[in-house]
């Protein structure tokens, strides 16, 4: 009941409070925390976080209603080079001019940039997120008259129509409008200005200027804003930007993580917009648009015909409004007369509002979901290819108390024959929350501990947070201070805030030299006690500032020449990046890093894994893990997971088992628990539950070759590993809102049990042409149906798609590295045409040598009763000891004989078993090396 919920909620506070009190006594600012401690209730304390109404720019911008835009394109200013169109826009109300830049990018994308023509001072343009300056394609001016310009894009029949008055952009293909910008007239660009309310009389020359402009009123919150007791000084005044996008024919939009909400985004007419502002939200609530730890300003729009995407490259606080077209059809200008459109066409309108910076938007035109992934990947890069071990199981807890604790948990896994790859240390492992150090009593000999893990081919992760204890006896602090690397407060001093260590400074990760220095701190000689099997976890990098506004940094804090306001959502990405670079550099660029982050931005996929933050041991939190990771996958971040078991509170054994079963089929598989919760290592809930958890972790390990190959694929293409159903079945509207099940790659369909006391689940099996095989019973089911599946506690409904071949390793050992040389079993699931296809990817599992063509990549296919393995990367070189020990063909008929033909033409007969009850053929021990050419004929 709610009471018990309340009870646990406060534990979190308590811990934070206790930690703080332990560190420093009698510090006035602690009163803040005390108040929080005392007023703790379950669920987020909403009053700690702003609503749109409390964020003055959002309130101002949202107050603008759709209507005629005051902006007019000055066609006479148009300049068109081969690759770029520029054009001035004027706001007829205040006469301020903007500069519009329009680019056609390679890969079916259009980039629209709008900045002030002559800003009072430069406005922030987000650096370091794009992997390169996106290559352009020629634009051709199609026609030009006093009403506007028509530009043709690329080779396709796409055009951009620039309407002059009011200014709007329409992107059309053939007779279809794909997307319109400023069609609702909500483009708004708050130009930088001198402060008038308190300034002396403007000088004469300015005066003249002023008279030309319509007097702009100074609204409350433009030059100063207070939230709770926090004051934001806003020296630059109002600087917000906003723009609306209309998506005709679209009823489904996705993305803009991170929110604890459904996969399909909701309209926001009756509440706040979705907010993107990286925040440490204590005990977040589900199913609402509040901001969370990370922000990726990318939205996907989808209908049966096409998928498009909007990437709004802005790192300031951002709000996104979504409405659908019940409000009526957009009025089209006469330039668009030829465009057919009926009032019945569904339409979604979205509107982006950011506090500062410029408008820099990438319009990705698909047309398929996979095109979108590749377009977005070409802009911001792909998922980093993680070490194979990081796809295994991670055992975490706040905290493993000491080396003996680590040793005994490690031994527990062997005793109970449960595999795991990583054990994690949270903040208590440090010497007084001084990162890069070890508690001298509890972790007196970290290298012994790490060696102990290494002897079992296992690894460790230790936390390194970006808040640095202000302590003149702490080397890291002294170095950062003396090098001037801290973020500054508005008055120029080092910014200080409260976090785990008490008073802390925040390194300015936006500075390249700061990041380089930070990275160097991970070298083995700098980070004492570290070894090559120690990896890193960046938490609290929103950044979390306990006594700051909304538990984060003051917006008027200063990063070089920019305000924190401008860079906020990028901070976490930079921390993640610098840490990852440190791990690469310590091995001389040889070893792949593994770094987990809580805060993220567009591009964070390049640096490692993310998790969904501090969730709770509740069934709804288990459910929400699916849409949260699916949404991240859509915007490039594949390596996603939720704390298995739930961070806050204590799960019932049933919930814990169900969470393991779900987590084992999600990309990042880590159990984690709050300090105040009872211990929950997998063997602490009785032999039955231990067996259930063991079984599903072992299932995870049998699928590691498939997971690994999918991550390689994600690294190459940007396609998500964990996929929403509509990505693979884009023409089936029944899949569009499904978020209680998901695909891994395209070949595994998972419908986890997320209801308490469930006796059955109803899974939707997509695809009219498809058949699906239960991976446990090998039962075959037809696609395009809702299938009721009775479940017991051991059930985790997973299906392999007919037409696929999945390589697995069934010899589960205590860690992934122990399985390196083990043989494969190929699961060949036949479709209705009796064919199947799959891949096999093998490399050393941990270095960058795959970039030097040291890998095996083979295509496996079955047709005409012959299964073959062919090399799809003949230029690559790698050898493996692994061999094929078994081939299991699902949906097969019984052959008379099975003949193996190896690369040298040698033929041999193979033994096999046929189970007629489920039509499964098991071919015994063909024994060929996994890297070789071979074929196998069924006669």
């Amino acid at each position: 009941g709610p009471q018990s919920v309340n009870t646990i909620a406060v534990l979190g506070f308590k811990r934070r409070c206790r930690e703080l009190f332990k560190q420093e006594k009698m510090v006035p600012v602690l009163v803040v925390w005390l108040a929080l401690c005392l007023s703790g209730t379950w669920a987020v304390d909403r009053s700690n976080f702003k609503t749109c109404d409390q964020s003055s720019f959002c309130k101002r911008q949202r107050a603008l209603k759709p209507g005629e835009s005051p902006y007019r394109a000055l066609l006479e200013t148009m300049e068109l080079t081969n690759t770029r169109l520029t054009l001035q826009l004027i706001n007829d109300n205040n006469k301020v001019r903007l500069l519009l830049e329009l680019y056609r990018l390679q890969g079916n994308m259009t980039r629209v940039k709008i900045n002030e023509l002559k800003p009072l001072k430069p406005r922030y343009e987000v650096p370091d997120v794009l992997v390169r300056e996106p290559p352009t394609e020629p634009i051709k001016c199609h026609c030009l008259d006093e009403n506007g310009v028509v530009l043709s894009l690329g080779v396709e029949s796409q055009r951009v129509i620039v309407s002059a008055q009011p200014f709007r952009l329409d992107i059309v293909e053939g007779h279809n409008v794909l997307m319109s910008l400023n069609s609702r007239g909500l483009l708004a660009f708050e130009h930088l200005r001198m402060r008038k309310d308190t300034q002396a009389e403007p000088e004469a020359e300015n005066k003249e200027e002023t008279t030309k402009e319509e007097e702009e009123k100074v609204e409350e919150g433009m030059w100063e804003e207070t939230f709770k007791s926090h004051s934001d000084s806003k020296p630059n005044g109002p600087s917000a930007v906003s723009l609306d996008f209309s998506l005709p024919g679209v009823e489904h939009v996705y993305g803009i993580p991170e929110h604890a909400d459904t996969l399909r985004l909701k309209t926001t007419d009756n509440g706040d917009p979705y907010r993107l502002y990286n925040l440490d939200v204590f005990q977040y609530e589900l199913y609402n648009p509040m901001a969370l730890y990370g922000a990726v300003p990318v939205m996907l729009a989808h209908n049966t015909q096409r998928t498009t995407g909007i990437f709004w490259l802005n790192a300031a606080e951002t709000w996104v409004d979504i409405s659908s077209n019940t409000a009526g059809k957009t009025v089209f200008g006469k330039m668009l007369d030829y465009v057919q459109g009926s009032s019945e066409t569904p339409q979604t309108d979205v509107r982006w509002i950011s506090e500062s910076g410029i408008i820099d938007v990438f319009i990705m035109l698909g047309p398929t979901p996979k095109d979108i992934f590749s377009q977005y990947a070409s802009l911001t890069g792909t998922q980093s290819f993680p070490p194979l071990s990081s796809l295994g199981y991670h055992q975490c807890r706040w905290n493993y108390n000491d080396q003996e604790d680590v040793r005994s948990v490690d031994a527990g896994f062997d005793e109970h024959d449960i595999p795991y790859d990583f054990i994690w240390l949270d903040i208590e492992h440090t010497d007084g929350k001084r990162y890069f150090t070890w508690d001298p009593h509890k972790f007196a000999s970290p290298k012994d501990m790490l060696q102990g893990l290494k002897d079992k081919k296992r690894n460790m992760v230790a936390i390194v947070d970006p808040h640095i204890k202000v302590d003149s006896n702490y080397k890291i602090h002294n170095e950062i201070r003396s090098r001037g690397f801290y973020v500054k407060n508005k008055d120029g001093g080092d910014y200080e805030g409260w976090c785990w260590p008490g008073n802390a400074g925040y390194p300015d990760f936006t500075q390249p030299d700061m990041r380089a220095w930070w990275a160097s701190m991970f070298s083995y000689d700098q980070y004492e006690g570290s070894m090559d099997n120690l990896y890193t976890w960046n938490d609290m990098n929103e950044p979390s500032v306990f006594n700051g506004p909304e538990v984060t940094m003051h917006k008027d804090a200063v990063h070089g020449s920019w305000e924190h306001r401008d860079v906020h959502n990028l901070y976490g990405l930079y921390v993640h990046r610098a840490t990852m670079e440190g791990l690469i550099q310590r091995s001389g660029g040889v070893e792949r890093p593994f770094v987990l982050t809580r805060a993220f931005f567009a591009g964070s996929q390049r640096y490692g894994a993310v998790w969904t933050g501090d969730n709770a041991a509740e069934w709804d939190h288990l459910k929400i893990s699916i849409p949260m990771c699916l949404s991240l996958g859509l915007v490039g971040i594949s390596f996603c997971g939720a704390d298995v078991g739930g961070f806050f509170k204590s799960p019932s054994p049933e919930l814990l088992v169900r969470w393991y079963q779900t987590g084992a089929y999600q990309p990042f598989f880590r159990a984690h628990a709050h300090l105040d919760t009872p211990r929950r290592e997998p063997w602490l809930f009785g032999p039955e539950n231990t067996a259930l958890i063991r079984e599903v972790i072992r299932q995870r390990y049998t699928f590691l070759p498939y997971w690994y190959q999918l991550f390689y694929h994600a690294y190459r293409t940007g396609e998500p590993v964990m996929r929403a159903l509509w990505v693979e079945y884009p023409q089936d509207p029944a899949t569009f809102a499904v978020d209680d099940e998901f695909l891994i790659g395209r070949d595994l369909l998972v419908h986890p049990v997320t209801e308490e006391g469930a006796r059955g689940v109803t899974a939707f099996l997509p695809g009219k042409e498809e058949v699906w095989f239960d991976i446990h019973t090998f039962q075959k089911h037809n696609g395009a149906q809702n299938l009721y599946i009775p479940v017991t506690m051991s059930s985790i409904p997973v299906f392999q798609r007919g037409g696929s071949i999945i390589p697995r390793k069934l010899r589960v050992r205590r860690s992934s590295a122990c399985m390196e040389h083990d043989p494969y079993t190929l699961f060949v699931a036949l479709n209705t045409r009796r064919t199947a296809e799959g891949e096999l990817y093998i490399d050393d599992g941990h270095t960058f040598n795959f970039d030097n063509k040291e890998f095996i990549h083979r295509r496996l296919f079955f047709s005409n009763n012959v299964l073959s393995s062919v090399n799809v990367a003949p230029e690559a070189q790698f050898t493996t000891k692994s061999w094929i020990e078994r081939v299991v063909i699902l949906g097969a008929s019984k052959p008379r004989k099975v003949t193996l033909i190896t690369a040298d033409g040698h033929k041999s007969q193979l033994d096999f078993d046929f189970d007629a009850s489920v039509s499964v053929l098991t071919i015994r021990k063909p024994s060929m090396n996994a890297g070789e050419d071979w074929s196998m004929a069924l006669q």
């Binding site: 409070c17 006035p28 709770k228 919760t677 205590r814 590295a817 078994r886």
Partner: protein, 528 residues
């Protein structure tokens, strides 16, 4: 290649025993060379060459005792020189040395040393050490048992004595109770007489005063001095409005007050005085009725006792902070303020000048003194009886306490043992409580009071459980598990908190020592 060639030294003659890799001697008969093999679960029969051929044919894994092919198989480490053991098949050739004889890593490239003899030597040493401790401890335990026995006898003797003395005390108490009651009766009567006389005197005085006041009021009301109080004169005193809530004092109401006439003289005024007396406000007293007394200071909720405070050791700074959250805190307190303030119920102030009751006369005082003396003597005797009862209870409790099969743990009763760690001093008072006190100041936290023996079946006296300690804030109550091991000394050797608020303490005592144990040589085939 999948066969062991084992040379076994059985006494003087060497015997060669061949068996598939990973099979224990006990199961060797099931693996008959060159004969079809039936899986040990009987599920199927396979050719002999499929044993240890690195492919799993049997569901129970019995065809692959020496490889990692079966997910549920076991590998037998002979571990000559040490203890044989089974390891999961998944540990075979995984590059990690598990068997001390290195037989599990025959094809992984791992360089494993045979460490069986070294292990055996170490184990022997430590077992010898343990045996020595156990031996000495066991001797000490015999003494403890003797002491406990003596102690028990002493206590039983004491109990008998005390129980006897209790009877005398009970008789005494009864006698004194009678004496007390006898003395209290005349005391009570005398006091009542005294009180009654005083009250009568007071009544007379009050009546006199009331008459004086009535006369004064009449004169005050009779504004025109005509010797009558009229309706008009009464109306000037709005406080007299019988239904004051309607805000208007009408003539009719005034007339009714006057008994239905327009005016009254002093005699008639007497008859209506009782209706006027309470409400009337003298004109000379313009302030109206005395204002409600406000308490001098808020009586705040008392600070709860330290034990239930979340952070007993942390002083919470009281300094002002501008953060909003602080304000919220204030708001919360405001809620408390809204409840009506509790007026202090001081002794009701007498508005008359009656003064204190006059002292008792000598005769009454004598009776009171005599009764008081009898009361004191009675209470004294009762207290003595209670003390004896306590003593009996404590003795009975201790005598009936479960101090182990031979009362060997009795010596721990009413003792305490401490362990100082970096931060805290831990204190174990067996059969009583466990506590923790910060080393550098701060109050003590109760980690649990004696609950029960909680060892596993057959060894119940190896674990103590202390429960219901100080509650963790909004969480469970603290509890401590004390694990007892054999030692010559009685000491707390370690404490930890494996899970939040659940403590683990290790404690050595000779009372746990068993008779000098076997070296369990039978378990280790050093000579095999």
């Amino acid at each position: 290649m999948f066969w062991y060639l084992l040379l076994l030294w059985g006494g003087i003659s060497a015997v060669e025993v061949q068996r598939p890799r990973g099979v224990p001697l006990s199961k060797r008969p099931f693996y008959e060379e060159n004969k079809p093999f039936t899986c040990l679960d009987g599920s199927r029969t396979i050719p002999f060459d499929r044993i240890n051929d690195d492919y799993c044919d049997c569901q129970d894994g019995s065809d692959e005792p020496g490889t990692a092919a079966c997910p549920n198989g076991n590998f037998h480490c002979t571990n000559a020189g040490f203890r044989p053991t089974f390891i999961p098949s998944s540990h075979v050739n995984d590059g990690i040395c598990d068997c001390c004889d290195a037989t599990d890593e025959y094809n992984s490239g791992a360089e494993c040393q045979n460490t069986c003899r070294e292990l055996w030597r170490k184990e022997k040493e430590s077992m010898q050490k343990l045996a020595e401790i156990a031996k000495e401890g066991f001797l000490l335990k015999q003494q403890l048992i003797q002491e406990a026995k003596r102690g028990l006898e002493e206590k039983q003797t004491k109990l008998g004595e005390v129980q006897n003395s209790k009877k005398d005390l009970e008789t005494n108490v009864e006698a004194l109770r009678t004496a007390k009651e006898a003395a209290e009766q005349p005391e009570k009567e005398a006091k009542e007489r005294h009180l009654k006389a005083w009250e009568e005197q007071n009544a007379a005085i009050r009546m006199e005063k009331d008459k004086v006041r009535m006369a004064e009021v009449f004169i005050e009301l009779d504004a025109d001095g005509d010797g009558f109080v009229s309706v008009a004169e009464l109306l000037s005193h709005s406080e007299m409005d019988p239904d004051s809530s309607d805000g208007s004092f009408t003539e009719a109401e005034a007339q009714e007050l006057l008994g239905g006439v327009d005016k009254v003289n002093t005699a008639a005024f007497e008859t209506i005085w009782s209706k006027i007396r309470e409400k009337y406000v003298s004109e000379s007293n313009t302030d109206g009725p005395a204002p409600v007394e406000t308490p001098q200071e808020e009586v705040r909720e008392p600070v709860s006792d330290n034990d239930s405070e979340p952070y007993p050791d942390d002083d919470i700074p009281e300094e002002e902070d501008e953060d909003e959250d602080e304000d919220e805190d204030e708001d919360m307190d405001d809620g408390d303020y809204k409840s009506p303030p509790v007026t202090r119920t001081d002794e009701k102030k007498d508005d008359s000048e009656e003064g204190a009751m006059p002292p008792y006369d000598q005769e009454t005082q004598n009776l009171i003194d005599a009764a008081q003396k009898a009361r004191n003597e009675f209470e004294e005797a009762e207290r003595a009886l209670r003390e004896v009862d306590d003593q009996i209870r404590n003795l009975e409790k201790e005598i009936s306490f479960d101090f182990g099969p031979s009362s060997e743990f009795a010596y721990l009763y009413s003792q305490c043992y401490e362990l100082t760690t970096g931060e805290y001093v831990y204190r174990l008072c067996p059969f009583n409580r466990v506590s923790q006190k910060p080393k550098y100041g701060g109050s003590e936290t109760n980690l649990g009071t004696w609950g029960k023996w909680a060892g596993p079946e057959g060894n119940v006296y190896s674990v103590m459980k202390y429960e219901q300690g100080t509650g963790c804030w909004q969480g469970p109550n603290r509890s401590t598990t004390v694990k007892l091991t054999c030692g010559k000394e009685t000491v707390v050797t370690s404490t930890s908190e494996p899970s939040r608020c659940e403590y683990l303490m290790e404690f050595t005592s000779p009372a746990v020592c068993q008779e000098a144990p076997d070296l369990e040589v039978s378990d280790i085939h050093e000579e095999l």
